[in-house]
Subunit: 250 residues, 2 copies
DNA sequence: TAAATAGTGTCTGTAAGACAGTATACT
DNA sequence: AGTATACTGTCTTACAGACACTATTTA
């Protein structure tokens, strides 16, 4: 942004002199963390320990702490600290939920994120403040009463995931680094809740060139071995030319 | 959210007792307002009057005022007050921009919105605080230095618009309530920057049943008159089954 | 050799894109 | 009648979906 002019520096100082008097809104980040447990997509819910709403259920989240977080994405990752261990998890901002009544402490805004991880990157032990992390399947989680507007966040996150499944490589982030095409297809199917045609699935995924086959590496089993692949780039989610399920995209 | 328990009410009171000491982040909303001026898509930029960054360019925006705004969307619309007059404008949240360094006044978050309006709904006179609204074409606007991280917001908004053009009826919000199919096609073409095949365009739009023809209403001109249509619902943007431009969607 | 799953070839229907044609106004 | 633009019909090509087929391992 560069250097402030003299006038602008004076504006900032004057602003911050008056600011302490204000009732500024609260700012937080909440996360819909999705993983796969025995081929079933699940979301991480917290049974809250000490503090507000003790004993009730919510998404993992935290208030922004300006001295710790350089963006709300940092706040989101901090809310997962001790629960998820991974180098480059997939994290995407969903949207910002705001308003006067969503938090009993006052006017607040929360930046909602979705995060996808393989089950192996999760560590679900009770934290020192008494929070209990649990993995819950989508149906059950959507039926549970959650604190704040977390039910709305959750269903927004699941909608986003389901629609992205149709045209992106996103579900690969639910698997370990190396996987086979049949494994990947099962992930797509479990999220969509419907079977996909094998040749069509393979053609679309392979034509997109999002995956690279690992020379000579095969998944052994009591049958024909399967080629092992990994994402060409774990940095960004790639998008297909068209939908996996032609008619499913309303 | 229902009634608070005794314990929870005590937590809230205790929280707010300590809260005044804190340096809570700033919260604002900024808007990428898009309209069409002589078939050219343009964005609303503000040459700032009195206050911070006087004389520099920014997107229209405002700090959240908890006594005035019930959500950040209200803040966004308030930032447009006096500039845009319309019953049901199209407003969509883009994403939240946050961080310690994006605003010289301190740690801040801004919820970014995109808004689409017909040119007739805009009133671009200088406001009493000296702000000067100007309409600027996309290319020029992206090349101008904007305050805060507004350049990033702007390019994010334009990207979102361009991608939604491919599969939604969004561009119709840039036209007056009543319009013809050739008029609508010109809007799509001006945003995409490329020509579309007429029969294909008509088929996709009409098959989607997003538009209703107005019985007997025709646009007169020096040639064959064109059927006048309007959006079936101005409430929500409808999505096509597939892309208008098969190959354009990377 | 049987079972199980990985992976491929082929046919068919649908829909997009190109282009040429027809329709209806004004001058 | 000529011109300009609205609107439609038809052909071709591409690709998704269905399904049957082949391939390769273990038991």
């Amino acid at each position: 942004m560069g250097q402030l002019s003299f006038d602008d520096a004076r504006e900032v100082a004057e602003f911050n002199r008056q600011r302490k008097e204000w009732a500024t809104p609260l700012l937080s980040a909440d996360v819909t963390l999705v993983t796969l447990e025995e081929d079933v997509p699940k979301v991480l819910l917290i049974k809250r320990g000490k503090g507000l709403f003790r004993g009730k259920w919510s998404l993992p989240g935290a208030l922004v702490r300006s001295e710790l977080d350089s963006t709300t994405a940092d706040t989101a990752l901090r809310a997962l600290a001790g629960k998820a261990h991974v180098r480059a998890p997939y994290v995407e901002q969903l949207r910002c939920f705001s308003g006067a009544s969503r938090d009993p402490r006052g006017w607040s805004a929360s930046d909602a994120f979705i995060c996808l991880l393989p089950r192996g990157a999760l560590d679900l032990k009770k934290s020192e403040n008494g929070d209990e992390p649990h993995l819950v399947d989508f149906e059950t989680a959507m039926g549970m009463p959650l604190c704040f507007d977390h039910s709305e966040m959750l269903s927004y996150g699941i909608d986003r995931l389901r629609s992205k499944v149709n045209y992106s490589s996103l579900p690969a982030y639910l698997l370990p680094e190396k996987f086979t095409l049949p494994e990947l297809q099962r992930v797509y199917e479990s999220i969509l809740g419907s079977k996909l045609d094998k040749p069509t699935f393979r053609k679309k995924i392979l034509d997109s060139e999002l995956l690279v086959p690992l020379e000579g590496e095969m998944r052994q089993g009591p049958n024909r071995p399967a080629q092992i692949y990994q994402l060409r780039s774990r940095e960004d989610v790639q998008v297909f030319r068209s939908n996996l399920l032609g008619a499913s995209f309303k």
